[in-house]
């Protein structure tokens, strides 16, 4: 059966020229039937240069000629598809496109109407946000050497899976680099500890031990102690001190050092 052809009535797509975003209309063979002024401007071509050409030749996106082509999906599934891709034909522009099936007066699908939006700017901002978030994470969890062989790590806020991962990786690396023997994890700044966070904390102390260092947890509130006990953690296995300063003194003991007054 021959593919349905669109009856080219004069001015059929003129209304689309009024819409303020790039619009492309193609038939089931993916040949361009129409493009409004905004779309033509993006391509830098005239209407007569694009009509009849294959849309993938003009736009050349990552989705073209693959199962991910939104237009083909829209036609096959008879529904609207929203997708994002990159278009080489538009100079490596990141675009978001909406594809809707085009129907003739009998309700048969004869092609696809596509609206394009340039999202390059948005993507840049998104990438910047991600970078900033990473920096914030790094800054908010500084690993400080308070003494030769003693590291401290103050934890503020909640520990989600990703953050714990990052902290643990940084901490273990620091232990190797500084040859630390003691790590003081201060959780004074953690008011509530959810089960997941507590599990992560325990994992962190176990990892520290595997590297031959001792982990001391300071600033543990009774509430958090309760959470850990409920989790089945044997608190007697954990080295804990209520204040950071006591943690440091314990670290000194472990390192066989003591503080004396200088006369």
């Amino acid at each position: 059966m021959a593919p349905k052809k669109v009856d080219k009535k004069k001015g059929q797509f003129d209304a689309l020229s009024l819409v303020g975003t790039p619009i492309v209309v193609i038939d089931r063979d993916r040949k361009v039937l129409f493009m409004n002024g905004f779309a033509l401007d993006l391509l830098g071509k005239g209407l007569d240069e694009v009509v009849g050409k294959k849309c993938y030749e003009l736009f050349d996106t990552d989705h073209c000629n693959t199962d991910e082509c939104g237009c083909m999906q829209a036609v096959e599934q008879e529904t609207s598809i929203i997708a994002e891709t990159r278009s080489r034909g538009l100079g490596d522009m990141d675009i978001k496109y909406y594809a809707t099936p085009l129907k003739d007066e009998n309700g048969e699908i004869v092609g696809c109407v596509e609206t394009l939006i340039d999202v390059t700017e948005i993507k840049n901002l998104q990438e910047k946000s991600v970078l900033m978030a990473k920096e914030i994470l790094e800054v908010s969890t500084p690993i400080v050497t308070v003494f030769d062989g003693v590291l401290t790590l103050p934890i503020i806020g909640t520990l989600d899976s990703q953050r714990t991962q990052q902290i643990m990786e940084a901490l273990l690396q620091a232990i190797v680099e500084t040859q630390a023997r003691v790590v003081i994890v201060d959780i004074t700044g953690v008011s509530i500890m959810e089960t997941l966070t507590a599990t992560h904390l325990i994992k962190a102390t176990n990892a520290v031990r595997l590297l031959g260092a001792t982990a001391i947890i300071t600033g543990m509130s009774p509430r958090i102690a309760q959470t850990l006990v409920n989790l089945g953690v044997d608190l007697s296995e954990l080295s804990t001190k209520s204040r950071m300063v006591d943690g440091v003194m314990t670290a000194f003991e472990l390192l066989k050092k003591k503080v004396i007054d200088v006369e």
Partner: protein
């Protein structure tokens, strides 16, 4: 898919080959060392399952991508005796000499994990780890 790496698994030495190949591909793609190690460890467990329970099978390394990320998919398939998935996923289950930690452990290390197995029909384990930016 072209460019997939396929490793035949039939013995001890092949488990090492699996580790080495996965490490290589993951490093090339830019995975962090901890993530590389997670994948290599999961691959080791799953390759060993094939050696221990089926005797013969293979691992396929594919590069995959979705709309926002790139990743690596590891497929372990064999025509061995198969098993009841429900039982196997309980930590500690083991009929062989292994610890039985192979499946649940590997699942923890990967982002996506799927096991298809039928007694007498063989097993296919598919695991994906996405590249964290």
């Amino acid at each position: 898919m072209e460019n997939d790496t396929i490793i035949k698994i039939s013995g001890d030495a092949d488990i090492i080959r699996c580790r080495t190949e996965v490490r290589k591909v993951a490093a090339e793609l830019g995975y962090s060392v901890p993530d590389q190690t997670r994948m290599v460890t999961a691959a080791s467990e799953l390759a060993r399952n094939i050696v221990v329970y089926s005797g013969e099978g293979r691992m396929i390394i594919c590069l995959v991508s979705n709309s926002s990320e790139k990743g690596i998919k590891l497929i372990f398939e064999d025509n061995g005796p198969g098993f009841d998935i429900g039982e196997a996923m309980e930590i500690g289950f083991s009929t062989g000499n292994g610890l039985g930690l192979g499946l649940p452990g590997s699942q923890k290390l990967m982002d996506e994990f799927d096991v298809k197995s039928k007694k007498g029909k063989g097993t296919t384990v598919t695991a994906v780890k996405w590249l964290r930016s």
